[in-house]
C-alpha cells in the first residue's frame, strides 16, 4: 500500500489524520513510515490514544458477540443429508 499522506513527512499527522487511519493502524497494514508517524503521534496525544483504544475495543467486542447455531431440527436435517451423501461405506 502506498503512503497516501506524504505531507506528513515534514509535519507529522494531525489528530484528524490519525483518527482516519485508525483501522489500518490496528490491523497493522499501514506503510512503515506512516505507521511510525502514527505511533509517535499516539505517544504524545492522550485524546488519540483514547480514540484508538475505543476502536480496538469495538473490534474485540465484535469478535465476542454471541455465536448463532442452527435449530435442532435444522441440524438433524443437515446431518442426515451429510450422512446420505458422504457415508463412509459409500
Amino acid at each position: 500500500m502506498k503512503d497516501h499522506r506524504p505531507q506528513w513527512i515534514q509535519s507529522g499527522p494531525s489528530c484528524r489524520n490519525v483518527a482516519g487511519l485508525a483501522s489500518e493502524y490496528l490491523d497493522d497494514c499501514l506503510p512503515v513510515l506512516t505507521n511510525v508517524r502514527v505511533g509517535l503521534h499516539l505517544a504524545s496525544c492522550a485524546d488519540c490514544r483514547i480514540y484508538m483504544k475505543q476502536m480496538a475495543l469495538v473490534c474485540e467486542v465484535a469478535a465476542g458477540l454471541p455465536k448463532q447455531y442452527p435449530s435442532p431440527i435444522t441440524r438433524l436435517r443437515l446431518r442426515q443429508h451429510f450422512a446420505c451423501c458422504h457415508s463412509p461405506s459409500s
Binding site: 489528530c15 483501522s23 475505543q54 465484535a62 446431518r79 443429508h81 458422504h86
Partner: protein
Amino acid sequence: MNADTVTSIESMSHNPSISPKLQVVKPSGLTKAEDTILARLKHGDEGAFDELVNQHHSALIRMAMNYVADREVAEEVVQDTWMAVIESLNRFEGRSSLRTWICGILIHKAKDRGVREKRHTTFSAFESSDDDNDEAVDPSRFQQTGDWAGHWAFPPQPWDDQTPEKLLASKQAVDSMQRAIETLPATLKEVLILRDVEGVEAKEVCELLKITETNLYVRLHRARERVRAAVETALG
C-alpha cells in the same frame, strides 16, 4: 446452484479484478486446519461436519441477513447453502479457502433469494458507501482553523469499563453495538461481520467480496467508527 457456479465461486481467488498485491499464487487456498477437516469430511466424518457448521453458521446467518429481509428467510438460505456444500464437497479442490468457498455459495444464494423477493438492498445503497469522500469520523469534532487545525475539538471521552470483558458484560453496550451493526448499510455491514465479528483475514475478505484492500479499509473504518459512536452515545 449447479456445479459450474460452485466451481466459479471456488475460482474467486484468481479474479483479475483483484489487485496484484492480493493475488498470492499458492498451490492450495486451504489452511492446515481446513485441510485436516476437509479430509475428515470427505471420509464421511459427521463430527467434522458438526464442527464446520458450528464454526461458520453465525457468519452465514449474519451475511444472509444482509440480502434478505427477515431471519426466517435467512435461515432457509443458510440451510440451502449447507445442502449445496454437502453436495459439492467432493468437487471442492481447495483452490480457495473452505470458508471463502462456503461464504461465496451463501452470497450467491442470498442475492438470488433477495432479488426474487425484491427485498434486497438497492444497488445505489451498495455504490454509495465508498464512492464519496466523506470521512468516517465526524469532521466537526476537529478544530477547523488556526494553529490547532486538525486537532480534536471534541475528543472522545474514556469509557468507564475499558476492557472487552466488561463491555461484553454490559447489556447496554452490547445492545447498542448489535443495533449499530444491524443498521449499517449492506456494504459496511458485510466487511465488519466478516473481518471483526468472524475474524476473517483482510486478504480473504477482499477475495470474497471482490474488492481492493483500499476499498476494504474505507468501508471497515466507516463501519467500526459508526459502531464506536453508537457505544459512545449509549455509554455517554
